[in-house]
Subunit: 123 residues, 2 copies
């Protein structure tokens, strides 16, 4: 049945919602040139869906907090952030404190992890 050099595209599904996963599997099963990955098979691409219940509201961070957060994610210390942003270390601490508060984090590492999880920043 095949023709030449182009094999099927192999897709894997990572969908939280069982109903959606089912519909997709059914629809994609009938598409020529596509194939769903067998268990353990490495796919060319993955279809993902974040459960909408998981990301409720986005956190209202100010521009300055985003600036600080981005540098934190780069592993910068308060001193380095202060230099980069041309503000005092005290001000950096002030913004970091707000971030820990808003992101419900216990420390800067936790804050970066939370922010990445919620899509506030991209690692």
């Amino acid at each position: 049945m095949s023709e030449d050099t182009t094999p099927d595209i192999v897709l894997s599904l990572e969908i939280d919602d069982p109903a959606l996963a089912d519909r997709l599997a059914t629809l994609l099963g009938n598409v020529a040139g596509l194939r769903l990955a067998a268990p353990g098979e490495t796919a060319n691409a993955t279809i993902v869906a974040r459960d909408p219940r998981v990301m409720p509201e986005d956190i209202p961070l100010t521009q300055r907090e985003l600036d600080v957060l981005a540098l934190m994610a780069e592993g910068a210390s308060n001193k380095m952030i202060a230099r980069q942003l041309n503000i005092s270390v005290h001000t950096v601490k002030f913004h970091v404190g707000s971030l820990l508060d808003k992101l419900d984090a216990t420390g800067r590492t936790d804050a970066v992890a939370h922010a990445a999880r919620r899509g506030v920043i991209e690692l």
Copy 2:
């Protein structure tokens, strides 16, 4: 054309490889019940493909280092990690030091960010 309550599933594409993205777009464009997302539209699911060239070598971390790393990503302090793993704070520091070394990080926040980027851990 429509029938009842079931709208099309909206898919967005996030594919590094232009050729693959093109093939998928073509194939999926002809599937009834599916639709590709318009720019800015929120999709039900996203098709992603990580460029294999992007993840070269994996870092040889020991089991214990992975344990520590996972807890670090949760925002745990050295003391908390020590309690969790039933080892001394000194030993935790020892493993953290190795992690900073292997992950080429300047601090624990940087280490977690690097590890997440390289797929060593999942946030």
